[in-house]
Symmetry: C2
Amino acid sequence: MKYLVGMDVGGTNIVCGLLDGEGRLLEKIKRPTEAHLGSEHVLEAIAQTVKTLISSRQADTRQVLAVGVGSPGLVDPEQGITLFAGNLGWHRVEVAKQLSGKLNLPVFVDNDVRMYVFGEAITGAGKGYDHVLGITLGTGVGAAVVVRGQVYYGGGFMAGELGHMRMEGEQTTCACGMRGCLETVASATGIVRQVREAVAQGKQSVLGTWFPTANLSGLTAADVSKAYDSGDRVAREVLDHTGRVLGRALAYAVTLFSPDAVVIGGGVAEAGERLLAPMREELQRSVYQGYWSRLAIRTAHWPDDAGVIGSALYAKQKVEEA
Amino acid sequence: MKYLVGMDVGGTNIVCGLLDGEGRLLEKIKRPTEAHLGSEHVLEAIAQTVKTLISSRQADTRQVLAVGVGSPGLVDPEQGITLFAGNLGWHRVEVAKQLSGKLNLPVFVDNDVRMYVFGEAITGAGKGYDHVLGITLGTGVGAAVVVRGQVYYGGGFMAGELGHMRMEGEQTTCACGMRGCLETVASATGIVRQVREAVAQGKQSVLGTWFPTANLSGLTAADVSKAYDSGDRVAREVLDHTGRVLGRALAYAVTLFSPDAVVIGGGVAEAGERLLAPMREELQRSVYQGYWSRLAIRTAHWPDDAGVIGSALYAKQKVEEA
Protein backbone atom coordinates (compact mmCIF):
# COMPACT_ATOMS: atom_id res chain seq x y z
CA MET A 1 0.00 0.00 0.00
CA LYS A 2 1.14 3.52 -0.82
CA TYR A 3 0.74 6.52 1.44
CA LEU A 4 0.84 10.31 1.33
CA VAL A 5 1.61 12.69 4.17
CA GLY A 6 0.02 16.13 4.43
CA MET A 7 0.60 18.80 7.00
CA ASP A 8 -0.85 22.10 8.14
CA VAL A 9 1.64 24.17 10.11
CA GLY A 10 -0.07 26.87 12.13
CA GLY A 11 1.14 29.42 14.65
CA THR A 12 -0.24 27.31 17.52
CA ASN A 13 -0.50 23.73 16.28
CA ILE A 14 0.81 21.43 13.60
CA VAL A 15 -1.66 18.95 12.17
CA CYS A 16 -0.02 16.05 10.41
CA GLY A 17 -2.05 13.51 8.44
CA LEU A 18 -1.43 10.11 6.87
CA LEU A 19 -3.45 9.49 3.71
CA ASP A 20 -3.74 6.63 1.29
CA GLY A 21 -2.40 7.05 -2.24
CA GLU A 22 -5.74 8.48 -3.41
CA GLY A 23 -5.75 11.20 -0.78
CA ARG A 24 -8.17 9.67 1.73
CA LEU A 25 -7.26 10.74 5.25
CA LEU A 26 -6.50 7.71 7.44
CA GLU A 27 -5.11 9.23 10.59
CA LYS A 28 -3.91 12.53 12.00
CA ILE A 29 -1.83 13.84 14.86
CA LYS A 30 -2.01 17.35 16.30
CA ARG A 31 0.86 18.78 18.29
CA PRO A 32 1.95 22.23 19.47
CA THR A 33 4.13 24.13 17.01
CA GLU A 34 6.42 25.63 19.68
CA ALA A 35 7.62 28.18 17.16
CA HIS A 36 9.46 30.08 19.92
CA LEU A 37 12.01 27.23 20.02
CA GLY A 38 13.10 28.02 16.47
CA SER A 39 12.62 26.58 12.99
CA GLU A 40 15.13 23.74 13.48
CA HIS A 41 13.13 22.50 16.46
CA VAL A 42 9.83 22.78 14.59
CA LEU A 43 11.12 20.89 11.57
CA GLU A 44 12.62 18.16 13.77
CA ALA A 45 9.29 17.84 15.61
CA ILE A 46 7.49 17.60 12.25
CA ALA A 47 9.85 14.85 11.09
CA GLN A 48 9.31 12.89 14.32
CA THR A 49 5.53 13.26 13.99
CA VAL A 50 5.63 11.96 10.44
CA LYS A 51 7.66 8.93 11.57
CA THR A 52 5.26 8.26 14.47
CA LEU A 53 2.32 8.44 12.10
CA ILE A 54 3.88 6.02 9.65
CA SER A 55 4.90 3.47 12.27
CA SER A 56 1.45 3.66 13.90
CA ARG A 57 0.17 2.01 10.73
CA GLN A 58 2.93 -0.61 10.79
CA ALA A 59 4.03 1.02 7.55
CA ASP A 60 7.47 1.83 6.22
CA THR A 61 8.81 5.23 5.14
CA ARG A 62 9.51 3.74 1.72
CA GLN A 63 5.76 3.30 1.20
CA VAL A 64 5.26 7.08 1.38
CA LEU A 65 5.04 8.68 -2.07
CA ALA A 66 5.47 12.29 -0.96
CA VAL A 67 5.10 14.75 1.91
CA GLY A 68 3.26 18.05 1.51
CA VAL A 69 3.58 20.94 3.93
CA GLY A 70 1.21 23.89 4.19
CA SER A 71 3.19 26.75 5.72
CA PRO A 72 1.83 30.10 6.80
CA GLY A 73 3.21 33.26 5.22
CA LEU A 74 4.89 33.94 1.92
CA VAL A 75 6.15 30.71 0.37
CA ASP A 76 8.20 30.05 -2.76
CA PRO A 77 6.93 26.58 -3.73
CA GLU A 78 9.42 26.22 -6.58
CA GLN A 79 12.37 26.55 -4.24
CA GLY A 80 10.55 24.93 -1.32
CA ILE A 81 11.26 27.87 0.96
CA THR A 82 9.09 29.73 3.44
CA LEU A 83 10.28 33.25 2.65
CA PHE A 84 8.55 34.94 5.57
CA ALA A 85 6.06 33.77 8.18
CA GLY A 86 5.42 36.38 10.86
CA ASN A 87 3.53 34.12 13.28
CA LEU A 88 6.36 31.54 13.27
CA GLY A 89 9.18 34.08 13.23
CA TRP A 90 10.49 32.37 10.09
CA HIS A 91 12.63 34.09 7.50
CA ARG A 92 13.87 32.08 4.50
CA VAL A 93 13.47 28.63 6.06
CA GLU A 94 14.33 25.85 3.61
CA VAL A 95 11.43 23.64 4.63
CA ALA A 96 11.49 21.20 1.70
CA LYS A 97 15.24 20.61 1.70
CA GLN A 98 15.55 20.25 5.48
CA LEU A 99 12.56 17.95 5.95
CA SER A 100 13.56 15.92 2.92
CA GLY A 101 16.96 15.38 4.53
CA LYS A 102 15.42 14.24 7.81
CA LEU A 103 12.84 11.93 6.23
CA ASN A 104 14.60 10.81 3.08
CA LEU A 105 11.37 11.51 1.19
CA PRO A 106 10.30 14.04 -1.45
CA VAL A 107 8.89 17.06 0.40
CA PHE A 108 6.95 19.98 -1.10
CA VAL A 109 5.93 23.16 0.66
CA ASP A 110 3.39 25.78 -0.28
CA ASN A 111 1.30 28.41 1.45
CA ASP A 112 -1.30 26.96 3.86
CA VAL A 113 -4.25 28.84 2.33
CA ARG A 114 -3.34 27.66 -1.18
CA MET A 115 -3.12 24.08 0.13
CA TYR A 116 -6.50 24.37 1.86
CA VAL A 117 -8.13 25.71 -1.29
CA PHE A 118 -6.32 23.09 -3.40
CA GLY A 119 -7.76 20.35 -1.16
CA GLU A 120 -11.27 21.76 -1.46
CA ALA A 121 -10.90 22.26 -5.22
CA ILE A 122 -9.66 18.74 -5.94
CA THR A 123 -11.72 16.67 -3.55
CA GLY A 124 -14.00 18.97 -1.56
CA ALA A 125 -16.70 21.54 -2.22
CA GLY A 126 -15.01 22.72 -5.43
CA LYS A 127 -14.76 19.25 -6.96
CA GLY A 128 -16.08 19.18 -10.51
CA TYR A 129 -15.58 22.91 -11.11
CA ASP A 130 -12.83 24.12 -13.45
CA HIS A 131 -12.26 27.49 -11.77
CA VAL A 132 -12.40 27.54 -7.99
CA LEU A 133 -11.92 30.60 -5.80
CA GLY A 134 -11.49 29.56 -2.18
CA ILE A 135 -11.42 31.87 0.79
CA THR A 136 -10.53 31.17 4.41
CA LEU A 137 -11.98 33.34 7.13
CA GLY A 138 -10.00 32.79 10.32
CA THR A 139 -7.69 34.98 12.37
CA GLY A 140 -7.01 36.60 9.00
CA VAL A 141 -8.53 36.33 5.53
CA GLY A 142 -6.83 34.25 2.86
CA ALA A 143 -7.76 33.27 -0.68
CA ALA A 144 -6.47 31.26 -3.59
CA VAL A 145 -7.55 30.29 -7.08
CA VAL A 146 -7.24 26.81 -8.56
CA VAL A 147 -7.78 26.45 -12.31
CA ARG A 148 -8.23 22.92 -13.63
CA GLY A 149 -6.20 21.49 -10.76
CA GLN A 150 -3.42 24.09 -10.93
CA VAL A 151 -2.87 26.81 -8.35
CA TYR A 152 -2.78 30.36 -9.77
CA TYR A 153 0.32 31.93 -8.19
CA GLY A 154 0.81 35.35 -9.74
CA GLY A 155 4.11 37.25 -9.68
CA GLY A 156 6.19 36.61 -6.57
CA PHE A 157 3.67 33.87 -5.60
CA MET A 158 1.56 36.70 -4.19
CA ALA A 159 -1.80 36.32 -5.95
CA GLY A 160 -5.12 36.15 -4.14
CA GLU A 161 -4.51 38.42 -1.16
CA LEU A 162 -8.21 39.16 -0.80
CA GLY A 163 -7.61 39.95 2.87
CA HIS A 164 -5.48 42.94 1.95
CA MET A 165 -7.89 44.69 -0.35
CA ARG A 166 -8.68 48.11 1.11
CA MET A 167 -12.39 48.42 1.64
CA GLU A 168 -14.06 51.79 1.26
CA GLY A 169 -15.29 53.22 4.55
CA GLU A 170 -13.07 50.99 6.73
CA GLN A 171 -10.34 52.68 8.75
CA THR A 172 -8.81 50.12 11.10
CA THR A 173 -5.05 49.72 10.81
CA CYS A 174 -4.08 46.28 9.52
CA ALA A 175 -1.06 44.18 10.52
CA CYS A 176 0.26 44.80 6.98
CA GLY A 177 0.57 48.52 7.66
CA MET A 178 -2.35 49.67 5.50
CA ARG A 179 -5.74 50.79 6.75
CA GLY A 180 -9.17 49.32 6.06
CA CYS A 181 -8.04 45.94 4.68
CA LEU A 182 -10.82 43.34 4.36
CA GLU A 183 -8.98 41.31 7.00
CA THR A 184 -9.63 44.03 9.60
CA VAL A 185 -13.36 43.32 9.15
CA ALA A 186 -14.09 39.81 7.84
CA SER A 187 -11.88 37.85 10.25
CA ALA A 188 -12.39 36.53 13.79
CA THR A 189 -10.37 39.45 15.13
CA GLY A 190 -12.32 41.86 12.94
CA ILE A 191 -15.67 40.64 14.23
CA VAL A 192 -14.53 40.81 17.86
CA ARG A 193 -13.11 44.29 17.30
CA GLN A 194 -16.39 45.56 15.84
CA VAL A 195 -18.36 44.26 18.82
CA ARG A 196 -15.88 45.82 21.26
CA GLU A 197 -16.11 49.16 19.50
CA ALA A 198 -19.91 49.09 19.53
CA VAL A 199 -20.02 48.29 23.24
CA ALA A 200 -17.37 50.93 23.97
CA GLN A 201 -19.61 53.42 22.15
CA GLY A 202 -22.30 52.56 24.67
CA LYS A 203 -24.44 50.26 22.51
CA GLN A 204 -26.41 47.74 24.58
CA SER A 205 -25.42 44.14 23.92
CA VAL A 206 -25.89 40.86 25.73
CA LEU A 207 -22.19 40.31 25.02
CA GLY A 208 -21.41 43.10 27.49
CA THR A 209 -23.26 41.04 30.11
CA TRP A 210 -21.66 37.74 29.13
CA PHE A 211 -18.17 39.30 29.15
CA PRO A 212 -18.31 41.83 31.96
CA THR A 213 -14.53 42.36 32.01
CA ALA A 214 -12.73 45.34 30.52
CA ASN A 215 -12.84 45.34 26.71
CA LEU A 216 -14.91 42.11 26.68
CA SER A 217 -11.76 40.06 27.25
CA GLY A 218 -12.16 36.45 26.10
CA LEU A 219 -14.85 37.23 23.49
CA THR A 220 -14.70 35.09 20.33
CA ALA A 221 -16.47 35.18 16.96
CA ALA A 222 -18.43 32.07 18.03
CA ASP A 223 -19.86 34.05 20.98
CA VAL A 224 -21.07 36.70 18.54
CA SER A 225 -23.05 34.02 16.68
CA LYS A 226 -24.61 32.90 19.98
CA ALA A 227 -25.58 36.47 20.81
CA TYR A 228 -27.06 36.84 17.30
CA ASP A 229 -29.27 33.82 17.94
CA SER A 230 -30.47 35.32 21.21
CA GLY A 231 -31.65 38.34 19.20
CA ASP A 232 -28.79 40.68 20.12
CA ARG A 233 -28.84 43.75 17.92
CA VAL A 234 -25.12 44.55 18.07
CA ALA A 235 -24.24 40.97 17.08
CA ARG A 236 -26.66 41.16 14.18
CA GLU A 237 -25.34 44.52 13.01
CA VAL A 238 -21.73 43.33 13.17
CA LEU A 239 -22.30 40.05 11.29
CA ASP A 240 -24.49 41.87 8.78
CA HIS A 241 -21.88 44.53 8.12
CA THR A 242 -19.11 41.92 7.97
CA GLY A 243 -21.07 39.87 5.44
CA ARG A 244 -21.75 42.90 3.28
CA VAL A 245 -18.12 44.03 3.22
CA LEU A 246 -17.07 40.48 2.39
CA GLY A 247 -19.65 40.37 -0.40
CA ARG A 248 -18.27 43.56 -1.89
CA ALA A 249 -14.70 42.23 -1.84
CA LEU A 250 -15.85 38.94 -3.34
CA ALA A 251 -17.61 40.87 -6.12
CA TYR A 252 -14.24 42.23 -7.23
CA ALA A 253 -12.65 38.80 -7.10
CA VAL A 254 -15.52 37.19 -9.03
CA THR A 255 -15.45 39.90 -11.73
CA LEU A 256 -11.70 39.54 -12.18
CA PHE A 257 -11.23 35.73 -11.88
CA SER A 258 -14.67 34.56 -13.06
CA PRO A 259 -14.68 31.43 -10.90
CA ASP A 260 -17.24 28.68 -11.42
CA ALA A 261 -17.41 28.10 -7.68
CA VAL A 262 -16.55 30.04 -4.54
CA VAL A 263 -15.68 27.88 -1.54
CA ILE A 264 -15.75 29.47 1.90
CA GLY A 265 -13.85 27.93 4.81
CA GLY A 266 -12.15 28.86 8.06
CA GLY A 267 -13.52 29.18 11.58
CA VAL A 268 -15.52 32.34 10.88
CA ALA A 269 -17.49 30.50 8.17
CA GLU A 270 -19.14 28.61 11.07
CA ALA A 271 -21.31 31.71 11.51
CA GLY A 272 -23.13 30.24 8.50
CA GLU A 273 -26.15 32.10 7.15
CA ARG A 274 -25.81 34.85 9.77
CA LEU A 275 -22.79 35.94 7.72
CA LEU A 276 -23.38 34.31 4.34
CA ALA A 277 -26.89 35.65 3.72
CA PRO A 278 -25.82 39.34 3.74
CA MET A 279 -22.64 38.34 1.86
CA ARG A 280 -24.62 36.74 -0.95
CA GLU A 281 -27.06 39.65 -1.08
CA GLU A 282 -24.25 42.18 -1.47
CA LEU A 283 -22.36 39.97 -3.96
CA GLN A 284 -25.41 39.58 -6.17
CA ARG A 285 -25.97 43.34 -6.09
CA SER A 286 -22.33 44.05 -6.97
CA VAL A 287 -21.58 41.74 -9.88
CA TYR A 288 -22.82 41.58 -13.44
CA GLN A 289 -25.63 39.06 -13.44
CA GLY A 290 -23.77 36.91 -16.00
CA TYR A 291 -21.35 35.99 -13.20
CA TRP A 292 -23.97 35.57 -10.53
CA SER A 293 -26.17 33.25 -12.58
CA ARG A 294 -23.35 30.74 -13.20
CA LEU A 295 -21.72 30.89 -9.76
CA ALA A 296 -21.90 28.17 -7.12
CA ILE A 297 -21.26 29.31 -3.56
CA ARG A 298 -20.32 26.55 -1.16
CA THR A 299 -19.01 26.16 2.35
CA ALA A 300 -15.94 23.96 2.75
CA HIS A 301 -16.47 20.20 2.59
CA TRP A 302 -13.41 19.53 4.80
CA PRO A 303 -13.44 22.52 7.14
CA ASP A 304 -10.88 20.95 9.48
CA ASP A 305 -8.87 18.80 7.10
CA ALA A 306 -8.67 20.55 3.71
CA GLY A 307 -5.18 21.85 4.51
CA VAL A 308 -3.82 18.41 5.33
CA ILE A 309 -5.58 16.74 2.40
CA GLY A 310 -4.64 19.53 0.01
CA SER A 311 -0.95 19.52 0.89
CA ALA A 312 -0.81 15.72 0.51
CA LEU A 313 -2.50 15.85 -2.91
CA TYR A 314 -0.32 18.77 -3.96
CA ALA A 315 2.80 16.76 -3.07
CA LYS A 316 1.42 13.84 -5.05
CA GLN A 317 0.84 16.11 -8.07
CA LYS A 318 4.40 17.44 -7.85
CA VAL A 319 5.93 13.97 -7.58
CA GLU A 320 3.95 12.80 -10.59
CA GLU A 321 4.97 15.87 -12.61
CA ALA A 322 8.66 15.33 -11.82
CA MET B 1 8.30 33.35 -46.89
CA LYS B 2 5.57 32.65 -44.33
CA TYR B 3 2.90 35.11 -43.24
CA LEU B 4 0.37 35.64 -40.46
CA VAL B 5 -2.85 37.62 -40.64
CA GLY B 6 -4.25 39.51 -37.66
CA MET B 7 -7.44 41.46 -37.36
CA ASP B 8 -9.19 43.84 -35.03
CA VAL B 9 -12.93 43.99 -35.64
CA GLY B 10 -14.48 47.09 -34.11
CA GLY B 11 -17.96 48.57 -34.17
CA THR B 12 -16.86 51.19 -36.73
CA ASN B 13 -13.81 49.80 -38.53
CA ILE B 14 -12.02 46.58 -39.23
CA VAL B 15 -8.24 46.74 -39.22
CA CYS B 16 -6.61 43.85 -41.02
CA GLY B 17 -2.86 43.30 -40.93
CA LEU B 18 -0.35 41.14 -42.77
CA LEU B 19 2.64 40.07 -40.64
CA ASP B 20 5.70 37.98 -41.24
CA GLY B 21 6.03 34.62 -39.51
CA GLU B 22 7.64 36.26 -36.47
CA GLY B 23 4.75 38.67 -35.98
CA ARG B 24 6.28 41.81 -37.50
CA LEU B 25 3.56 43.96 -39.04
CA LEU B 26 4.19 44.48 -42.77
CA GLU B 27 1.02 46.12 -43.98
CA LYS B 28 -2.48 46.92 -42.84
CA ILE B 29 -5.82 47.86 -44.33
CA LYS B 30 -8.62 49.65 -42.53
CA ARG B 31 -12.19 49.44 -43.78
CA PRO B 32 -15.65 50.22 -42.38
CA THR B 33 -17.28 47.33 -40.51
CA GLU B 34 -20.80 48.01 -41.86
CA ALA B 35 -22.23 45.85 -39.10
CA HIS B 36 -25.76 46.96 -40.00
CA LEU B 37 -25.49 44.82 -43.15
CA GLY B 38 -25.26 41.66 -41.05
CA SER B 39 -22.57 39.21 -39.97
CA GLU B 40 -22.46 37.37 -43.31
CA HIS B 41 -21.61 40.64 -45.06
CA VAL B 42 -18.96 41.54 -42.47
CA LEU B 43 -17.29 38.13 -42.69
CA GLU B 44 -17.31 38.24 -46.49
CA ALA B 45 -15.74 41.72 -46.40
CA ILE B 46 -13.10 40.46 -43.98
CA ALA B 47 -12.27 37.55 -46.28
CA GLN B 48 -11.95 39.88 -49.29
CA THR B 49 -9.70 42.22 -47.30
CA VAL B 50 -7.44 39.34 -46.30
CA LYS B 51 -7.17 38.27 -49.95
CA THR B 52 -6.41 41.83 -51.07
CA LEU B 53 -3.72 42.11 -48.43
CA ILE B 54 -2.08 38.85 -49.45
CA SER B 55 -2.11 39.61 -53.17
CA SER B 56 -0.74 43.13 -52.57
CA ARG B 57 2.47 41.38 -51.45
CA GLN B 58 2.45 39.10 -54.50
CA ALA B 59 2.01 36.31 -51.99
CA ASP B 60 -0.15 33.21 -52.03
CA THR B 61 -2.79 32.17 -49.52
CA ARG B 62 -0.84 28.95 -48.97
CA GLN B 63 1.99 31.00 -47.48
CA VAL B 64 -0.28 32.15 -44.63
CA LEU B 65 0.21 30.10 -41.47
CA ALA B 66 -2.91 31.26 -39.65
CA VAL B 67 -5.48 34.04 -39.32
CA GLY B 68 -6.37 35.57 -35.97
CA VAL B 69 -9.48 37.64 -35.34
CA GLY B 70 -10.07 39.94 -32.38
CA SER B 71 -13.82 40.25 -31.96
CA PRO B 72 -15.64 42.55 -29.57
CA GLY B 73 -17.97 41.07 -26.99
CA LEU B 74 -18.13 37.67 -25.32
CA VAL B 75 -16.13 35.12 -27.32
CA ASP B 76 -15.69 31.38 -26.88
CA PRO B 77 -12.21 30.89 -28.36
CA GLU B 78 -12.36 27.10 -28.03
CA GLN B 79 -15.39 26.89 -30.30
CA GLY B 80 -14.35 29.92 -32.36
CA ILE B 81 -17.69 31.63 -31.78
CA THR B 82 -18.57 35.21 -30.92
CA LEU B 83 -21.33 34.48 -28.42
CA PHE B 84 -22.54 38.06 -28.12
CA ALA B 85 -21.29 41.41 -29.42
CA GLY B 86 -23.73 44.24 -28.76
CA ASN B 87 -22.02 46.85 -30.97
CA LEU B 88 -22.07 44.47 -33.97
CA GLY B 89 -25.51 43.03 -33.26
CA TRP B 90 -23.91 39.57 -33.29
CA HIS B 91 -25.33 36.59 -31.46
CA ARG B 92 -23.56 33.23 -31.74
CA VAL B 93 -21.66 33.99 -34.95
CA GLU B 94 -19.34 31.14 -35.98
CA VAL B 95 -16.47 33.41 -36.97
CA ALA B 96 -13.69 30.81 -37.12
CA LYS B 97 -15.66 28.20 -39.06
CA GLN B 98 -17.16 30.66 -41.57
CA LEU B 99 -13.95 32.57 -42.26
CA SER B 100 -11.98 29.36 -42.46
CA GLY B 101 -14.41 28.14 -45.13
CA LYS B 102 -14.02 31.34 -47.16
CA LEU B 103 -10.22 31.48 -46.91
CA ASN B 104 -9.29 27.83 -46.67
CA LEU B 105 -6.97 28.75 -43.81
CA PRO B 106 -6.89 28.00 -40.08
CA VAL B 107 -8.77 30.84 -38.34
CA PHE B 108 -8.90 31.57 -34.60
CA VAL B 109 -11.08 34.11 -32.88
CA ASP B 110 -10.87 35.59 -29.41
CA ASN B 111 -12.00 38.72 -27.62
CA ASP B 112 -10.39 41.93 -28.93
CA VAL B 113 -9.17 43.12 -25.53
CA ARG B 114 -7.54 39.77 -24.81
CA MET B 115 -5.82 39.90 -28.21
CA TYR B 116 -4.61 43.46 -27.59
CA VAL B 117 -3.19 42.51 -24.20
CA PHE B 118 -1.73 39.31 -25.66
CA GLY B 119 0.08 41.38 -28.30
CA GLU B 120 1.46 43.77 -25.70
CA ALA B 121 2.42 40.89 -23.39
CA ILE B 122 4.28 38.90 -26.04
CA THR B 123 5.98 41.62 -28.03
CA GLY B 124 5.08 45.00 -26.55
CA ALA B 125 5.31 46.79 -23.21
CA GLY B 126 4.78 43.55 -21.26
CA LYS B 127 7.56 41.64 -23.02
CA GLY B 128 9.89 39.95 -20.56
CA TYR B 129 7.33 39.86 -17.73
CA ASP B 130 5.78 36.55 -16.66
CA HIS B 131 2.49 37.99 -15.41
CA VAL B 132 0.99 40.84 -17.41
CA LEU B 133 -2.23 42.66 -16.61
CA GLY B 134 -3.29 44.79 -19.54
CA ILE B 135 -6.10 47.33 -19.55
CA THR B 136 -7.65 49.23 -22.43
CA LEU B 137 -9.31 52.57 -21.80
CA GLY B 138 -11.48 53.45 -24.76
CA THR B 139 -15.22 53.81 -25.26
CA GLY B 140 -15.34 51.20 -22.52
CA VAL B 141 -12.80 49.66 -20.14
CA GLY B 142 -11.38 46.21 -20.85
CA ALA B 143 -8.72 44.09 -19.22
CA ALA B 144 -6.99 40.75 -19.58
CA VAL B 145 -4.26 38.78 -17.90
CA VAL B 146 -1.53 36.86 -19.72
CA VAL B 147 0.59 34.45 -17.67
CA ARG B 148 3.75 33.13 -19.30
CA GLY B 149 2.27 33.60 -22.76
CA GLN B 150 -1.14 32.11 -21.92
CA VAL B 151 -4.34 34.11 -21.62
CA TYR B 152 -6.19 33.67 -18.30
CA TYR B 153 -9.81 33.03 -19.30
CA GLY B 154 -11.77 32.19 -16.16
CA GLY B 155 -15.11 30.40 -16.16
CA GLY B 156 -17.26 31.15 -19.20
CA PHE B 157 -14.25 33.04 -20.70
CA MET B 158 -15.39 35.97 -18.57
CA ALA B 159 -12.31 36.87 -16.50
CA GLY B 160 -10.86 40.35 -16.29
CA GLU B 161 -13.98 42.53 -16.54
CA LEU B 162 -12.30 45.38 -14.69
CA GLY B 163 -14.70 47.79 -16.42
CA HIS B 164 -17.65 46.25 -14.60
CA MET B 165 -16.36 46.51 -11.07
CA ARG B 166 -18.73 48.70 -9.10
CA MET B 167 -16.81 51.61 -7.65
CA GLU B 168 -17.87 53.07 -4.31
CA GLY B 169 -19.39 56.54 -4.63
CA GLU B 170 -20.19 56.22 -8.35
CA GLN B 171 -23.84 56.18 -9.34
CA THR B 172 -24.05 56.40 -13.15
CA THR B 173 -26.02 53.61 -14.79
CA CYS B 174 -23.81 51.40 -16.98
CA ALA B 175 -24.74 49.73 -20.26
CA CYS B 176 -24.52 46.40 -18.39
CA GLY B 177 -27.46 47.39 -16.20
CA MET B 178 -25.53 47.97 -12.98
CA ARG B 179 -24.66 51.33 -11.47
CA GLY B 180 -21.26 52.83 -10.77
CA CYS B 181 -19.14 50.48 -12.91
CA LEU B 182 -15.55 51.61 -13.49
CA GLU B 183 -16.43 51.92 -17.17
CA THR B 184 -18.89 54.75 -16.39
CA VAL B 185 -15.89 56.77 -15.12
CA ALA B 186 -12.57 55.67 -16.66
CA SER B 187 -13.64 55.59 -20.31
CA ALA B 188 -13.88 58.24 -23.03
CA THR B 189 -17.63 58.40 -22.50
CA GLY B 190 -17.13 58.56 -18.73
CA ILE B 191 -14.74 61.49 -18.97
CA VAL B 192 -17.04 63.39 -21.33
CA ARG B 193 -20.02 62.68 -19.07
CA GLN B 194 -18.20 64.03 -16.02
CA VAL B 195 -17.32 67.26 -17.82
CA ARG B 196 -20.90 67.68 -19.05
CA GLU B 197 -22.26 67.16 -15.54
CA ALA B 198 -19.83 69.69 -14.08
CA VAL B 199 -20.75 72.31 -16.69
CA ALA B 200 -24.47 71.58 -16.24
CA GLN B 201 -23.95 72.18 -12.51
CA GLY B 202 -22.73 75.67 -13.45
CA LYS B 203 -18.99 75.09 -13.06
CA GLN B 204 -16.93 77.41 -15.23
CA SER B 205 -14.89 75.62 -17.87
CA VAL B 206 -13.14 76.64 -21.06
CA LEU B 207 -14.81 73.57 -22.57
CA GLY B 208 -18.16 75.36 -22.26
CA THR B 209 -16.69 78.12 -24.46
CA TRP B 210 -15.10 75.70 -26.93
CA PHE B 211 -18.33 73.71 -27.23
CA PRO B 212 -21.07 76.30 -26.89
CA THR B 213 -23.83 73.92 -28.09
CA ALA B 214 -26.32 72.23 -25.81
CA ASN B 215 -24.70 69.52 -23.67
CA LEU B 216 -21.25 70.28 -25.16
CA SER B 217 -22.09 68.24 -28.23
CA GLY B 218 -18.96 66.99 -30.03
CA LEU B 219 -16.75 67.03 -26.94
CA THR B 220 -14.14 64.24 -26.77
CA ALA B 221 -11.73 62.99 -24.12
CA ALA B 222 -8.86 64.51 -26.16
CA ASP B 223 -10.47 67.96 -25.79
CA VAL B 224 -10.48 67.46 -22.02
CA SER B 225 -6.70 66.96 -22.13
CA LYS B 226 -6.32 70.17 -24.15
CA ALA B 227 -8.42 72.07 -21.63
CA TYR B 228 -6.34 70.56 -18.82
CA ASP B 229 -3.19 71.96 -20.46
CA SER B 230 -4.75 75.40 -20.68
CA GLY B 231 -5.20 75.29 -16.91
CA ASP B 232 -8.91 74.49 -16.89
CA ARG B 233 -10.03 73.48 -13.41
CA VAL B 234 -12.97 71.28 -14.44
CA ALA B 235 -10.73 69.32 -16.83
CA ARG B 236 -8.17 68.84 -14.09
CA GLU B 237 -10.76 67.74 -11.54
CA VAL B 238 -12.29 65.25 -13.96
CA LEU B 239 -9.00 63.66 -15.06
CA ASP B 240 -7.81 63.64 -11.46
CA HIS B 241 -10.94 61.92 -10.22
CA THR B 242 -10.88 59.49 -13.15
CA GLY B 243 -7.24 58.59 -12.44
CA ARG B 244 -7.96 58.01 -8.77
CA VAL B 245 -10.98 55.77 -9.38
CA LEU B 246 -8.93 53.82 -11.93
CA GLY B 247 -6.09 53.49 -9.40
CA ARG B 248 -8.48 52.09 -6.83
CA ALA B 249 -9.84 49.51 -9.27
CA LEU B 250 -6.33 48.59 -10.35
CA ALA B 251 -5.38 48.09 -6.69
CA TYR B 252 -7.94 45.30 -6.45
CA ALA B 253 -6.69 43.70 -9.66
CA VAL B 254 -3.05 43.92 -8.57
CA THR B 255 -3.80 42.42 -5.14
CA LEU B 256 -5.72 39.52 -6.68
CA PHE B 257 -3.61 38.74 -9.79
CA SER B 258 -0.20 39.96 -8.59
CA PRO B 259 1.02 40.97 -12.06
CA ASP B 260 4.67 41.79 -12.71
CA ALA B 261 3.62 44.51 -15.13
CA VAL B 262 0.51 46.56 -15.82
CA VAL B 263 0.19 47.76 -19.43
CA ILE B 264 -2.23 50.59 -20.16
CA GLY B 265 -3.59 51.13 -23.65
CA GLY B 266 -6.59 52.53 -25.49
CA GLY B 267 -7.37 56.05 -26.65
CA VAL B 268 -7.95 57.46 -23.17
CA ALA B 269 -4.39 56.47 -22.18
CA GLU B 270 -3.27 59.31 -24.49
CA ALA B 271 -4.16 61.63 -21.62
CA GLY B 272 -0.82 60.40 -20.26
CA GLU B 273 0.39 61.77 -16.94
CA ARG B 274 -2.72 63.94 -16.54
CA LEU B 275 -4.51 60.65 -15.84
CA LEU B 276 -1.68 58.30 -14.89
CA ALA B 277 -0.12 60.43 -12.16
CA PRO B 278 -3.25 60.42 -9.94
CA MET B 279 -3.81 56.77 -10.90
CA ARG B 280 -0.36 55.74 -9.69
CA GLU B 281 -0.72 57.80 -6.53
CA GLU B 282 -3.99 56.11 -5.61
CA LEU B 283 -2.69 52.67 -6.60
CA GLN B 284 0.37 53.02 -4.40
CA ARG B 285 -1.81 54.13 -1.50
CA SER B 286 -4.19 51.21 -1.98
CA VAL B 287 -1.95 48.17 -2.34
CA TYR B 288 0.37 46.39 0.03
CA GLN B 289 3.82 47.79 -0.64
CA GLY B 290 5.13 44.32 -1.53
CA TYR B 291 3.08 44.55 -4.74
CA TRP B 292 3.91 48.15 -5.47
CA SER B 293 7.66 47.72 -5.12
CA ARG B 294 7.82 44.93 -7.72
CA LEU B 295 5.31 46.36 -10.19
CA ALA B 296 6.16 47.90 -13.56
CA ILE B 297 3.54 50.27 -14.99
CA ARG B 298 3.82 50.86 -18.72
CA THR B 299 1.82 52.47 -21.47
CA ALA B 300 1.20 50.33 -24.54
CA HIS B 301 4.10 49.87 -26.96
CA TRP B 302 1.73 49.31 -29.91
CA PRO B 303 -1.19 51.58 -29.05
CA ASP B 304 -2.71 51.27 -32.52
CA ASP B 305 -1.55 47.82 -33.57
CA ALA B 306 -1.46 45.57 -30.51
CA GLY B 307 -4.85 44.05 -31.42
CA VAL B 308 -3.73 43.12 -34.94
CA ILE B 309 -0.32 41.85 -33.79
CA GLY B 310 -1.80 40.01 -30.82
CA SER B 311 -4.45 38.19 -32.83
CA ALA B 312 -1.86 37.14 -35.43
CA LEU B 313 0.50 35.81 -32.74
CA TYR B 314 -2.37 34.13 -30.94
CA ALA B 315 -3.35 32.33 -34.15
CA LYS B 316 0.26 31.26 -34.60
CA GLN B 317 0.34 29.87 -31.04
CA LYS B 318 -2.86 27.91 -31.64
CA VAL B 319 -1.63 26.48 -34.94
CA GLU B 320 1.60 25.39 -33.29
CA GLU B 321 -0.25 23.80 -30.37
CA ALA B 322 -2.52 21.83 -32.69
